[in-house]
């Protein structure tokens, strides 16, 4: 199964063949073309590694990497694979260190990933003889850890195995960059904590889910009932020139009953009142500049969430074609009041693997994958037409079509 063998009805991307979700072969190509080449992947927040020597272990695609703050304060990203016999030597998920030692034979690396020590490299002397040692032409410089290119912006760290990747700003494009900078505007971030979930579905389904403004007002009762997100909210959809990244921008509007956005919407609960309304005690923040929700999908690896006062990053970590880990990092800002921190934590009840408006997203992805695995058919993404383009409303699946437009461009290319 290669990408050019797929059959796209209408020749656009409004009808998506199930094979894009089920082929392990295509998945291998996706890893290569989207995660390992020509793209920036999210690897963490600087707030996770505030001090020299701090590191976190994460992945780019399916490859294990370590994100390290070095003594100079720079951030380095290296692959967690020993240059000797290939071990994933770093087992801690985070920590602080002055260098790395692979335990198997104690090859030592500095915080830049340079090979700094090979035991018995010059052999072991016994009387006048020297036993063993590495070949003469063995140069430490050739055997460092694989180092990734790094980009930092606003406290967020991206990395790429591809040192020819375009600059992050060009990768994002001006429109998306604007929304990125709105959230990460240079303020110091504070780390609130993690949630992790393994979702048994193709990783692109999560991108689709967050590029799908059609579902929140239907699937998520809390959104529609409390007016946090629904069809009649003022909103925009924006993409980069390649249609790979997107921003869904929305401003909290009506709560309660108001015509089409709630009539015939079975998830709308007219009489629903929270027993404890503090869970949606939204307080607008100056930096919002209007929108109460901006969901940014940066293809292929990361979603940046601002949902009223809850802000987080959501990283996609694929495990084969049919599963991915979804890692939520909630954060705040150094200048948050205690009340605001408490509010962000309280609103976190809406998100994550148990959240009121997120737990079911994982579920629908799982049930979609289940169907895809059983038959050759196609998904239909034709709300708002069959074309791709920015809109001033949410009644459309255009961002999904956009993503597959980009997917086809890259996956069908010769290379």
């Amino acid at each position: 199964m290669t990408a050019t063998q797929l059959n796209w009805e209408f020749d656009g991307t409004s009808r998506i063949p199930f094979e894009v979700y089920t082929s392990e072969e295509l998945h291998r190509v996706e890893l290569d073309r989207f995660f390992y080449r020509r793209h920036w992947c999210y690897v963490g927040l600087e707030a996770e590694i505030p001090n020299p020597g701090d590191f976190v272990r994460t992945v780019v695609g399916e490859r294990s990497v370590i994100v390290i703050r070095d003594q100079a304060g720079d951030v380095n990203v290296v692959e967690n694979v020993c240059a000797h016999r290939g071990m994933q030597f770093c087992r801690a998920r985070h920590g602080t260190t002055t260098g790395f030692v692979c335990p198997y034979h104690q090859w030592r690396y500095n915080l830049q990933g340079d090979l700094r020590g090979v035991p018995f490299r010059a052999g072991v002397k016994e009387r006048d003889e020297t036993h063993g040692g590495m070949p003469e032409d063995f140069a430490n410089a050739d055997h460092g850890l694989t180092r990734l290119k790094v980009a930092r912006r606003g406290g967020v760290v991206f990395a790429s195995f591809d040192h020819d990747v375009e600059p992050l700003e060009e990768f994002l494009g001006p429109t998306i960059l604007g929304y990125f900078d709105r959230l990460f505007n240079g303020r110091e971030l504070t780390l609130l904590g993690y949630n992790r979930q393994r979702i048994p579905g193709n990783w692109k389904l999560m991108m689709e889910n967050i590029k799908d403004p059609y579902h929140p007002g239907l699937l998520h009762t809390w959104f529609v009932t409390f007016g946090l997100w629904r069809a009649d909210n003022k909103s925009q959809l924006r993409m980069d020139d390649h249609f790979r990244h997107a921003a869904m921008i929305s401003t909290r509007g009506n709560a309660g009953k108001t015509g089409e956005a709630t009539s015939q919407v079975s998830s709308f609960k007219e009489d629903m009142k929270l027993h404890d309304p503090s869970q949606i005690d939204v307080v607008p923040e100056a930096w919002w500049g209007g929108p109460s929700v901006v969901m940014l999908t940066i293809f292929p690896s990361i979603i940046f969430q601002q949902q009223v006062n809850s802000v987080s990053t959501r990283q996609i970590q694929p495990n084969g074609h049919g599963s991915f880990d979804f890692v939520w990092t909630h954060f705040g800002f150094a200048d948050d009041t205690e009340e605001m921190t408490a509010r962000r934590l309280r609103q976190a009840n809406l998100f994550g693997p148990a959240g009121y408006v997120s737990a079911d997203d994982g579920e629908v992805i799982e049930f979609s994958q289940q169907a895809f695995e059983t038959k050759a058919s196609q998904a239909i993404a034709e709300m708002g037409g069959r074309e791709v383009g920015d809109t001033e409303h949410m009644v459309t699946e255009t961002l999904i079509r956009g993503m597959y437009h980009y997917w086809r461009t890259v996956m069908e290319a010769a290379e």
């Binding site: 904590g193 979930q197 009762t221 009840n349 693997p353 079911d360």
Partner: protein
């Protein structure tokens, strides 16, 4: 640490009843096991041990438990599943006449319809149990779970 047999027996029965209710899916009974100003938290061990405040669920009143019940029953679309708790005998850390601070290891098994049973969530609960006029209640129940990589979603109470 001393405790009377009556109190110990009450505590064992209270834990057993908790398991019984959340495993039978009697959601409406679940908030009845808590005081009005209770704290219920479900938190990954990682956040707990690193002092990171985020919880997967953080409820600070019985009212929020009632909202959760409404969510389970009415708003959270999910695959139905059976859950089954095995709760170890608790350790009683501190006690006053009408209050006990207990800790207990737990393992929860999930069974989806027509599928095999899997280990869903294991961890340890840090509990404060108080005696009121209607029997024992949790004024605090913090479930710190080892199973940080959640198998998709957690819908029902741990």
């Amino acid at each position: 640490m001393t405790i009377s047999f009556e109190d110990w027996f009450s505590i064992t029965q209270f834990y057993a009843r908790y398991a019984s209710i959340v495993d039978a899916g009697d959601w409406d009974l679940w908030p009845e096991l808590f005081t009005d100003d209770c704290v219920y938290r479900l938190q990954p061990r990682e956040n707990h041990e690193r002092g990171l405040p985020l919880a997967t669920l953080a409820f600070t009143s019985r009212a929020m438990l009632l909202d959760r019940v409404y969510g389970i029953k009415e708003t959270l679309f999910h695959d139905p599943y059976y859950q089954r708790h095995i709760i170890s005998s608790p350790i009683v850390q501190r006690t006053t006449s009408d209050q006990w601070e207990c800790e207990a290891n737990y393992a929860i098994f999930r069974t989806k319809l027509s599928d095999t049973t899997t280990v869903f969530n294991v961890g340890r609960s840090f509990d404060t149990i108080v005696r009121g006029e209607n029997g024992l209640r949790f004024s605090r129940r913090e479930c710190i779970y080892d199973s940080e990589m959640i198998p998709n979603a957690i819908i029902y109470p741990v």
